[in-house]
Amino acid sequence: MMYSKNVMEHFMKPKNSGTIKNADGVGQAGNIVCGDVMFIFIKVKDDVIMDLKFKALGCVAAIATSSIVTELAKGKTIDQALEMSNQDIVEALGGLPPVKVHCSLLAIDALKEAIYDYLKKQDREIPAELERAHERISKEVQGIEGKFGNFVEKQREFLLDKK
């Protein structure tokens, strides 16, 4: 089996799937060309991430990493959450096949984007590193959308409607 037991558990019964109405922040990462698109919704209180939900269109690893990232980030402060790396996710899942490690990066990216969105909405200062990450991630998302029609666009509208 290419996936660990832990990955399969998170894939078969993901934690925190769904959306959050009136989320304090929403982040998107990934693109449909690589087959994986993730959205993370966060609810923040006193700088602590109280709740997270995700939507993930993608492979087993995309779903499992989305699930675990919501678990790991829950209860963390914004700063703590920003310190999380994809390695934390890979470890928590008991490993990922080499070709799927990029999913753990996507999950971290989606979380970062949700935090970015939250900070932006709060008019708070964006750490320089997060700003750079945001530029990269949103470029990846945009570039693809331009090329591959409006599927993700529609999906985003649909999801943001749902909140």
Partner: protein, 381 residues
């Protein structure tokens, strides 16, 4: 319930086949190259299989050379023709939806000074004979076009393509791994020079195949050595070949009809009952056991593994590309956008499948597709 719907990847060995093979492991275990009675007993068994296979493909007995499978046969056909005929030209034609082993062997030949042309296919996966006609040249030594596609099942117009090859003096090879015994193919009538076939797609064992080589075809060996089989060296896999022969013997129209009926039922119900589903491949000119869908708003690997957890074997893309990231080269070649290319599911039925199994699979596909679309935020697409 356990339902195996991945016969395009491999099949179980049929009981009759296994029974035929068994004595050749520990009782009649001789090496056909040996002079003694153990050896001659083995030769007899191998020749019986060779005859059965030759007959089915319209070849002479000495035109069937046993190999370790489709991958060897395809590599041998391409590289063997290239090396042996380079004085006549260095141009080879194949097409975009070939099996990985043909495409990768072709790419390697490009590094060895050969020029490759890859024909395109239409939205149904069909090669256009006019494109072949326009691409074939004076210095084209080989045209390699698979008969039935392993992913989307599309069956190519072999006879037309063969005619064009002959008119231009190019050798014609076909990878018939998926279509052998399912679609008619005849070495002479279809103007072929080389045909790749294997056993493990037709209820025979893994690790056995053949390259059918029309007498007189110049071909450099891939395996040099004692030439245990003409042009191919290596101790002959007697039990495997006996199994291959038997698997061909038991493949018949009745079983084909059975597979086609199950497959048609499957396609009809999935297309009706799963919203936003698309059939990949040609609606009629397709392998009798192949169904391939794209489902919008979900990813194929995830669906395969959800179905596996329900006891159902299926695939996305080809089995061998399941460890890769790129969307299927076949679905891209027929013009599916990435979103659909990623969301493909191949179901390949077998004659041992029961209708109840197919029904269970349909129920589970509906359920799991919905679950995945929901978790992906696409439950309305």
């Amino acid at each position: 319930m356990k339902v195996y719907l991945d016969h395009g990847a491999t099949t179980p060995v049929a009981k009759q086949v296994l029974d035929a093979m068994t004595p050749y492991f520990d009782k009649k275990f001789g090496n056909p190259a040996s002079l003694h009675i153990w050896g001659t007993e083995a030769v007899d068994a191998v020749e019986k299989s060779r005859k059965l296979i030759a007959k089915r493909i319209g070849a002479k007995q000495n035109e069937v050379v046993f190999t370790s499978g489709g991958t060897e046969s395809n590599n041998w056909a391409l590289k063997g023709v290239a090396f042996a005929n380079q004085n006549n030209g260095r141009h080879i034609i194949t097409q975009k939806t070939e099996h990985d082993c043909v495409l990768k062997a072709s790419k390697w030949l490009e590094t060895q000074g050969f020029e490759l042309s890859y024909l395109g296919v239409d939205n149904h996966g069909l090669v256009d004979p006019a494109e072949l006609e326009a691409t074939i040249r004076e210095d084209t030594i080989l045209v390699s076009i698979m008969q039935g596609n392993n992913e989307i099942g599309t069956v190519q117009p072999m006879r037309e393509l063969g005619r064009i090859c002959k008119e231009h003096g190019a050798l014609f090879h076909s990878d018939a791994c998926q279509s052998f015994t399912k679609e008619p193919l005849d070495l002479n009538k279809d103007k072929l020079d080389l045909i790749t076939i294997n056993a493990h797609k037709i209820y025979g064992p893994k690790g056995v195949g053949a390259l059918v080589v029309k007498n007189g075809t110049k071909l450099t060996p891939l395996f040099h050595g004692g030439q245990q089989d003409p042009g191919r060296s290596g101790t002959i896999n007697v039990s495997g070949i006996v199994g291959f022969g038997k698997s061909v013997e038991i493949a018949d129209n009745k079983k084909n009809k059975l597979m086609k009926n199950l497959r048609n039922y499957l396609i009809d119900r999935i297309m009706d009952e799963v919203p936003n589903s698309f059939l990949n491949g040609h609606p009629e000119k397709r392998l009798i056991n192949n169904a391939n869908f794209s489902f919008k708003g979900l990813e194929g690997e995830a669906l395969v593994l959800r179905l596996s957890a329900r006891g159902i074997a299926s695939s996305t893309g080809s089995a061998c590309s399941s460890k890769k990231l790129e969307p299927s080269h076949v679905l891209m070649a027929i013009g599916r956008p990435a979103e659909l290319a990623h969301g493909s599911l191949r179901l390949t039925v077998g004659w041992e499948n029961k209708l109840a199994e197919i029904e269970y699979a349909i129920d589970m596909i509906k359920k799991e597709a919905k679950w995945l679309r929901d978790i992906g935020g696409c439950d309305d697409v």
